[in-house]
Symmetry: C2
Subunit: 248 residues, 2 copies
């Protein structure tokens, strides 16, 4: 079972890769770890496959690139290694119960760069966990943005994508109202209609299509710190695997 953690820099991909992996191992599962981030300095898990063995952002900066240029260049250079990386991932996937893939620090290096496409298109039925933080959820339209963004990922990568609200340990009290806005489209729509701005109008129009575009979405509420939601994430990965993967 392949689980890909995707999200913007700071959304907690690396931390959850480590802690969810630890959780699975404690439950007797064998876990493989893949790091696709050329810019990370230290990892809290021991990667079985690590793109930094091929190239790092730091090396490229020493060659004279600025940080943005170095990030892009690192994935440009990784392109010619994509086949080998995919081969390694598929092999590891056969050996282990779970394979956790930690993606580039900057989400766009995976989502907008051929590298991400080349890696995901050859994996068998990976599940993408789209991580986002509570800080991004300020107004009702932000919920619409996040819900649609998960669909954009599915469209771009061709993967089943589950939205994972990370860092829920920080929002104990607000969680019920956040859940409602994330899960009940009708309620979200009613709230959006109260916003008369152009933005509110656009959000309301986009949001009304959500039920037609995506099947009812299960959102995972997780904390890499406390382990909340890890059971749900494991169940989802397993269900996804059983309904889509070849179990004949």
């Amino acid at each position: 079972m392949i689980l890909i953690f995707l999200g913007t820099a700071g959304s907690g991909k690396t931390t959850i890769t480590a802690s969810f992996g630890e959780y699975l191992e404690k439950n007797g599962k064998s876990v493989g770890y893949v790091n696709l981030d050329t810019g990370v300095k230290k990892l809290p898990y021991r990667p079985d496959i690590d793109v930094r063995d091929i190239i790092t952002v730091e090396e490229l900066m020493k060659e004279g690139y600025g940080p943005n240029g170095a990030i892009v260049e690192s994935y440009d250079r990784l392109l010619s290694h994509a086949e080998g990386i995919v081969g390694g991932i598929l092999e590891l996937d056969e050996e282990r119960d779970y394979l956790l893939i930690d993606t580039p620090g900057q989400m766009e290096s995976f989502l907008f760069h051929d590298f991400g496409i080349r890696i995901t298109e050859h994996l068998s039925e990976p599940l993408v966990a789209y991580l986002f933080s509570p800080e991004i959820l300020k107004k009702p339209r932000d919920y619409c943005f996040v819900r649609f963004f998960a669909i954009m990922i599915a469209l771009r990568l061709g993967t089943t994508t589950v939205p994972v609200l990370n860092k829920v340990d920080l929002i104990k009290e607000e969680l019920p109202s956040i859940r409602r806005l994330l899960e009940e489209v009708d309620y979200l729509n009613a709230r959006l209609r109260l916003d008369p701005s152009m933005q509110g109008l656009l959000a309301s129009r986009i949001c009304s299509f959500l039920p037609e575009v995506s099947s009812p979405v299960r959102v995972v509420y997780a904390s890499a710190k406390t382990g909340e939601g890890f059971d749900e994430l494991e169940t989802l990965s397993y269900e996804h695997y059983c309904t889509c993967g070849d179990l004949t």
Copy 2:
């Protein structure tokens, strides 16, 4: 008139800021330049406002941050300066005919970080030019992705957003078929229906909503290298300003 160039790292924001500014100046317009990228090393234009006067990614890396952490941290630190930056932009906007804003190298630092919201929400009717490169357009579903992504930007920032296909000098021959897929939703939909994959199905469903979600879109075909499309971009900025700004 405020024009914000937004796009992934490598989409050509900085280059087009310089060359479009030069084009406007040659046509007798006064132009102000704003750099919001904490990671850029050298700029091909002289910024009137430059966030690197406050903080740079390089400095933060010397403090021990990795490249991704340093990028995020730089915008975290800029948050407390947002008001001052906006004040400077508004002042400059009054002095100049055009104000060109070059955004963070990594698009997500602007789109997913409060910094971007805080800057744009106080500007009067900025027009966002969403730059993307031909490399991203491989399959019909990629056109759907790009068109919807422009809508996502409008939703997130509350700005009118025009998709700008940059680097058209690289795709002379393919341009007519690219234009057709970008502009004719019915044609795009017909092409999408030929793709029986889950991804094709999702794209087709999303795409059929495009006419209802967004008004007919004018796409600009530009080249920062040859200056193609700059007249169109100028016209669009002006039209946007005249129809939305306060000209009473």
